[in-house]
Amino acid sequence: MIRHLLSAADLDHTEALRVLDTAAELLALADRPIKKLPTLRGRTVVNLFFEDSTRTRISFEAAAKRLSADVITFSAKGSSVSKGESLKDTALTLQALGADAVIVRHQSSGAPHRLAASGWVDGSVVNAGDGTHEHPTQALLDAFTLRRHLAGGVGDLDGRRITIVGDVLHSRVARSNALLLATLGAEVTLVAPPTLLPVGIDSWPVSTSYDLDGALAKSDAVMMLRVQRERGAAGGFFPSAREYSRRYGIDSRRMALLPDHAIVMHPGPMNRGVEITAEVADHERSVIVEQVSNGVAVRMAVLYLLLSGSAGEQDA
């Protein structure tokens, strides 16, 4: 297994499946009277959050605690050290605490890479979302959810058609999903206004479209990305939130265009009324709440796989 999880591209087909298979076993354990496993007893997992994200932080915290790790949460947001040297100083502090894994959320793309490559910390680094770059564990939990609904919970996503809609340009979720879902054999289509597709997207393992209605009929799942209203009027990426939701939001009419088996996903937090209407969000084929519960199992799997055998590797 790899030592750090920085990008969804770090996982090849075999490793990605191993995470999903392990998560599936761990999810089954969630129903037991005692949810805790002793696996990471005596190991220290640090949640290093330079950016607010209650959902992701809680999910990682629950995952680490269910594996009996000691969890230290470090919220650097709003502290006096806001940039530059702080990353290094914080890393050195964590090193002194003996962190076996550092889960890092940062507003700067590549900050987890810096942490992993700098030699400032010995532990495994897990990217919990960096800038507009990646969010690999979100992609893993999305793949896990897709597999449960579209592939009977086993194997990969060969030939499944996944449509990801919205602000691809600024979305770390879209980047990680495009890479991971392609690794798992899915056919990914990104749908967005042209202003929100990054330059060079033709080199990604996906196809793109500006036409949501056309893409929906051929989708086994549609994943709606959060769109910040500020990108509209002030940001100039689209004329208004209203025009955006008319062209790229999902509502009941568009829901009806989907095949009957298709599911609707959203990484949260949702902007109800912008990219998704309340009826769709609460629809029985919307799996948004399930995504959250799968998140804990997937993150447990990642921590277990990254931290097992690490002592042996260091000795070797």
Partner: protein
């Protein structure tokens, strides 16, 4: 006064071996005459095989003084320049305070004289505080002791077309030139790296080539319209080279420079997220690198300029977006040009002398720099061992800063000696402190 010095077996511009006699700050004689005219007590130095070039002239150096003496000082930066074979540098204006008055440019000029490593020619700011709004007192800087001829808001683009037009017009009165940092500000808000396939994948905000090319195109047209001189700083894209080449065919007075790093490195290095590779303009694609080399070879691009930009360790030892932009350049420039231009057969050593000394001196209107290596000319020269190879060690650099993108990389060539008006500032690859009682260099530097 300096000892007379006879350089034996040197190859001017990489040509046939000859002897050069340096006396009283000039090249007193060459060839057989050099030996014949050497007075008694002349020191002889066997430099057989070394290549002599006119002392290098940098159009674009950030010496950081006044204001950021933790990153570089005039003394440390000019020492680095001497180590790199330079005998003159142009000190950029974006200091703190900004070099936008006669007082500041004279201060920098004087610090350069006192340090004594190489000539320091301050660049004056185009606008007050390099804020892009009001013209600075360009005339006062031109008339000052610093004798400023190049004006630049480098680091910032003079993006307002009217301000740029007025600046181009105004400097005609004293044969000045506006050196433009071509970067359309709105197209590059928050920009972190070259916009292309990689920026999309890395999630770093893109700096598109068009943001440079749009300004270059506008400025060559403005320069033609008002009949003035334009110099384009650090061109980085194939499109800019093409526009400048076209402007030259029109006969317009447009010159351009390229940095050593843009001749060798590509944006792929950003994939490491190591801010050592963060620079403005950003490292571009391999196609851009090739176009820049070809432009430099055919003369569309006139000069190599280092854009030597020292930054303290803490400004680079951080996450990419928080890091400062810029790279060291003075001490590696000649080696990089050798690898990119000589080893590829695109330029010979005479071409390198032209692009790194003659033409930059002409653009800066410097007298006594960038001159031929012939009798009667000022003895500003650099001796290069082209066959040597060396590994760049950041801790071994004379600069106060360590932010070289070539760390631990092996590069060809080595500056063996630099002479500033006959006085060695570097001998046998070692800096010679100015003002120290200089032992007569005798022996061999082979």
């Amino acid at each position: 006064m300096n000892h007379p010095l006879l350089l034996k077996g040197v190859r001017p511009l990489g040509g046939q071996p000859t002897d050069l006699l340096l006396r009283d700050g000039v090249i007193a004689a060459t060839g057989a005459a050099a030996v014949a005219e050497a007075p008694a007590g002349t020191s002889e130095l066997d430099v057989a095989g070394l290549i002599a070039l006119p002392g290098l002239v940098d159009l674009h150096t950030h010496l950081r003084e006044p204001g950021r003496e933790d990153a570089e000082t005039v003394a440390s930066g000019t020492k680095a320049a001497a180590m790199g074979g330079f005998t003159a540098v142009h000190a950029m204006a974006n200091t703190d305070p900004v070099a936008d008055t006669a007082g500041v440019v004279e201060q920098v000029w004087r610090l350069g004289r006192e340090a004594g490593w190489c000539d320091v020619h301050p660049v004056g700011a185009v606008t007050v505080g390099i804020a892009g709004q009001r013209l600075a007192e360009l005339g006062a800087m031109a008339d000052s002791a610093a004798h400023v001829r190049i004006f630049s808001d480098d680091g910032h683009c003079v993006s307002d077309a009217v301000v740029m037009r007025r600046a181009l017009e105004y400097v005609k009165a004293f044969d000045g030139v506006i050196a433009q940092h071509a970067q359309e500000p709105r197209l590059t808000e928050g920009a972190q790296m070259n916009e292309g396939q990689l920026s999309g994948r890395l999630g770093l905000a893109g700096w598109p080539a068009v943001a440079e090319e749009a300004i270059v195109a506008r400025d060559v047209l403005l320069a033609a319209h008002v009949g003035s001189r334009l110099h384009v700083c650090h061109v980085s894209t194939a499109g800019s080279v093409e526009i400048i080449r076209w402007a030259k065919t029109k006969g317009w007075d447009v010159t351009a420079e390229v940095t050593p790093h843009h001749l060798l490195l590509t944006d792929e290095l950003a994939a490491s997220y190591d801010p050592l590779f963060k620079v403005n303009p950003p490292l571009r694609s391999a196609e851009d690198v090739q176009a820049l080399r070809e432009g430099l070879a055919d003369g569309a691009v006139d000069a190599v300029a280092t854009d030597h930009a020292p930054h303290p360790v803490e400004d680079k030892e951080c996450e990419w977006s928080a890091a400062a932009m810029g790279m060291l350049g003075l001490e590696t420039a000649l080696s990089v040009v050798q690898e990119a231009m000589i080893d590829t057969g695109l330029l010979d050593w005479a071409g390198v002398a032209d692009r790194m000394s003659t033409r930059p001196a002409a653009i800066g209107r410097l007298r006594g720099q960038g001159r031929p290596l012939s009798a009667g000319e000022p003895a500003n020269l650099v001796l290069v061992d082209a066959d040597a190879r060396r590994t760049v060690r950041p801790l071994g650099l004379a600069s106060l800063s360590r932010n070289t993108p070539f760390a631990d990389r092996e590069l060809p060539g080595r500056v063996v000696a630099t002479f500033l008006r006959g006085r060695p500032t570097v001998l046998d690859g070692q800096a010679v402190e100015p003002g120290t009682a200089r032992p007569a260099p005798v022996g061999s530097l082979r």
